[in-house]
């Protein structure tokens, strides 16, 4: 369980942690014992009173087994918010899943609720979005004549619906710069990541850090560049559909390949565009289907 694995890091960031569900204490105790969860409080809201008090009670689960269960709009909402396999009385009482981050006064500072119930931000992805990234899982490193490159990933393992990120820590070598998005209008090749993603993976647009303005004297022009060490973030969503689950069930390891494309220049000359092959390897966790005894 990621919260348990990341517990020490999250506490080091000063965050208390708790998970709330409608499970009974007995179910949670069994789950905690099976999965080795010794630090994260798993709270039992078995009458869904707190879920309701928070205003996130999933009423669609009740509608899906009620009088309007055959209504097309209700069925569509059931598929999106309850279960892709259809309504199920077992799901009545659950919340719309999501995460609140609060300050010491209990005021919400951030919240993360995904539209499709099966696609969830990992804790590491949430911490990145909060500007307090957890330690990445190191991957490959390399260099070109222009850059030092280190690839990492937020999570070592993923499952159906995981929302995580890949990262590239890039250090331009002495006197080198590469081009940021604003330089595209001048016709420069903006540094970019292209991934070869299987159809059950969605790659979201690259997140770029703030760039610097660089004056290139030979051409008397100013462009947006990266000259100091910087990081590119590529957020990835593993599909939550049954089709995606079926494809993931066939593999133990997911290898994502792609390339880093860029053009580097120094203070006198621009070099040919470069394409650097990239690889990230993630362990695929199958859904935990073991039930409390």
């Amino acid at each position: 369980m990621e919260l348990q694995e990341r517990f020490t890091e999250l506490r080091a960031q000063g965050l208390g942690i708790a998970a709330i569900s409608y499970d009974t204490e007995e179910v949670l105790a069994d789950f905690a014992q099976r999965r080795g969860i010794s630090d994260v409080p798993l709270l039992s809201d078995d009458d869904s009173a707190v879920i309701r008090a928070f205003g996130i009670y999933n009423h669609v689960a009740e509608e899906g087994i009620g009088d309007n269960k055959d209504n097309a709009a209700v069925k569509a909402d059931v598929e999106k918010y309850v279960s892709v396999f259809g309504a199920n009385p077992m799901i009545v009482g659950t919340p719309f899943p999501g995460t609140f981050v609060v300050d010491r006064d209990g005021r919400v500072t951030s919240r993360f609720f995904e539209e499709f119930y099966r696609e969830r931000n990992t804790a590491a992805n949430i911490m990145l979005k909060l500007g307090a990234p957890l330690s990445g899982i190191s991957g490959s490193t390399g260099e070109t004549p222009h850059l030092d490159i280190a690839a990492s990933q937020s999570n070592p393992d993923i499952t159906v619906g995981s929302r995580f990120h890949l990262a590239l820590d890039i250090t331009p070598k002495s006197n080198m710069h590469v081009y940021a998005p604003g330089a595209a209008e001048l016709g420069y090749r903006v540094i970019d990541v292209q991934l070869d993603t299987p159809d059950f993976i969605r790659a979201l647009p690259i997140q770029y850090p703030p760039s610097e303005s660089y004056y290139f004297e030979p051409l008397d022009e100013r462009a947006d560049v990266f000259m100091q060490p910087f990081q590119l973030i590529q957020e990835i969503v593993v599909g939550g559909s049954p089709e995606a689950a079926e494809q993931l069930a066939q593999i133990d390891v997911l290898t994502l390949t792609g390339r880093l494309d860029y053009q580097a220049c120094d203070d006198k000359v621009c070099f040919n565009p470069v394409s650097v092959p990239l690889t990230w390897t993630l362990t695929v966790n199958q859904l935990d289907r073991e039930r409390a005894r």
Partner: protein
Amino acid sequence: MKQSLSALVIGTCILFFMQTPAITQDREEIDVASLGPQVGERIPEFALPDQNGTVQTLESIMGEEGAMIVFHRSADW
């Protein structure tokens, strides 16, 4: 005669639509982003037992900088 027939037809139509179940009305779209406490709002108090039977509150789980509260569907399925 024609007016009576027209009134009968209109009345029947009105009666039909009045008896039609509410499901034919537009369903309000769900926006999960709008559910629950928004940024800046306080979350409700809670006191719930954890897996060890210890009752936890926001205060008891709070860290030095705040807290992360994850609502999930179930640990059992």
